[in-house]
């Protein structure tokens, strides 16, 4: 096998695994947007808050990684409910910009609280999967990426099951389709909204854990980075389409890894945003979405 082809394949494998992580981020944004028809710009901050909070039991009691993982999820859910309560629940209907602004306000509050509490320094994260690369045939892969792959597949399966096999999932899809009609038929839109926040915030906890693990630390830049990537993935796949978000995440992961390897790391983000811009111009509905109304 030629070197370029070999390297390309190795980066393809890594890109697909890391793409699962992007798919999770984009999926969280997509689920919220699909049901609420609104952006939650505080989602990146929810993720970051969970990642930081997970470290508290570790620093205090030297708790095992499992406790850290559970703490990230629990705290993310609590922060998510706080976002719903402060930014969405009491907002008057019919103003598209107001929820954008309230979540920006929340983003500032959460980020600054974390910066204030930690003096803006990154906190070291444990490496539960070790840092020895695993050999998959001739290719070397990172163990934490492999864990991301396994966990995100579990996550996606659970969400598909939830969406298509349970009463809650049916209510969620009904609200996403037509909130008024769903309300008339007896679906509590508020309940669905709150439960959607619980679901996506639990995802945020998982995302936060893996984001911090793959970088090796919890950092204040995480929120902006994840928000940027999440929005790109969401648009790539088509706003509100969950399978589209998975596809978009995988595509972004592969493209970034190939770009870093063949073009150098300084072109990685510029490539992501150029693709975003082009896709919006050529296919405004995203890869799997319909044309926006």
């Amino acid at each position: 096998m030629g070197t370029a082809l070999f390297d390309g394949t190795e980066q393809l494998i890594n890109g697909l695994m890391y793409g699962c992580f992007y798919a999770l981020v984009g999926g969280g944004f997509t689920l919220l947007f699909g049901v609420l028809r609104r952006f939650n710009l505080a989602y990146g901050s929810t993720i970051m808050a969970g990642a930081y909070a997970g470290l508290i039991p570790v620093y205090l009691f030297k708790a095992p990684v499992l406790v850290l993982f559970v703490t990230t999820i629990v705290v993310s859910v609590l922060v998510g409910l706080l976002v719903e309560f402060c930014c969405f629940r009491f907002l008057r209907k019919g103003h598209e910009l107001a929820p954008l602004m309230t979540t920006i306000g929340m983003l500032i509050v959460i980020d600054e609280t974390i910066v204030h509490l930690t003096d803006a320094v990154g906190l070291k994260y444990p490496a539960p999967f070790g840092d020895e690369s695993l050999a998959l045939g001739p290719f070397l892969i990172r163990p934490d990426y492999l864990a991301i792959l396994v966990v995100s597949i579990a996550c996606f399966s659970a969400i598909f099951w939830l969406m298509h096999r349970t009463r809650f999932g049916r209510a969620m899809r009904a609200v996403a389709e037509r909130p008024e009609a769903a309300q008339i038929l007896g679906v509590s839109v508020r309940r669905v909204n709150v439960l959607t926040f619980v679901l996506t915030s639990a995802m945020a906890g998982i995302i936060g854990f893996f984001a911090a693990v793959s970088v090796g630390s919890a950092r204040p830049e995480m929120a902006a980075w994840l928000t940027g990537k999440g929005l790109v993935v969401m648009v790539l796949g088509g706003l509100g389409s969950f399978p589209g978000a998975i596809l978009g995440g995988l595509a972004l992961g592969v493209l970034e890894f190939e770009a870093v390897w063949f073009l150098g790391s300084s072109y990685r983000d510029i490539l992501a945003f150029s693709i975003l811009f082009l896709i919006l111009m050529v296919r405004p509905g995203g890869l799997l979405g319909s044309r926006p109304a």
Binding site: R92, M101, G105, M106, F273, S274
Partner: protein, 305 residues
Amino acid sequence: MEYYIAIASIIGIHAMLGLSVYLVAISGQMSFGQQGFFALGAYLAGMSTALWGLHLLPALALGVVVAAVVGLLVGFPALRVRGLYLAIATFGFGEIVRLAFLNVRYTRRIGDRVVGPNASEGFRHVRYIYDRGITPLEYLGIILLALAVVVVLFFALERSKLGATLRAVEEDEVAASMVGINVTRAKVFGFTAAAGVAGLAGGLFVHYSSYIDHDMVALPLAIASVTYPIFGGLGSFVGPLLGAVVLVGLTESLRALHDAREIIYGALIILTMLFRPRGLVDEALVLRVKGWLRPRAVRRPAPAP
């Protein structure tokens, strides 16, 4: 005193950014990419004076023109998408510009300094106002003069047919096109002019601070420039001005509280949106004020049926 001059300068520059977003918003669009035009204006104007030895005025003009031309080129394809899609597309554009400046190196050695855009180290030593002996107070005058010109243009725009056209597009694009308004042209005009205003703000900023780098035109600046008009209100150009004065003034006056001031800032935005979802100066308030200002004779009671 110098402290207050600095705050006033920042308010003037940020007010222009707010007006830039506002101009896009009154045709019903939302841009998260004005910081990209700000960066273009800043780098171009800075290179003009620091590297090419131009006078400040043509330098600023060059920044405005380049930003506006790019705005036109970006606006045509970008305005095919609407609402939240456009918000993301424009943010993508802003990031592309920022990341481009993160990689561009175009420097020259002048004396013992390296001048020019120097990739991740930023663009240092834009020393025009120091070399010419312009004091901060005089430069504040230049900023406020430029702001006054922009405000007068906005004042005229809001009273012109063009202003009404933009508002009509915001209300209902289909209805607007039914009465013969070229919707695309109106939107692209708004976007191009807004890009020029952001470019002007950038050019003024780089000479004020003598320095700019890619970090200064990232997401926080996008958020700030969007916050001014939405917080201040989209009913009139007074809204973004008020937003910039209140929010910049507030962060500065709360300096004694250190980090807590940012938290208060965020909380204040949330509270304002809950009670006034169209901002402080919304359309209803503008109509009421216009009612007060109108001569009494015109305000006849409605004829009895």
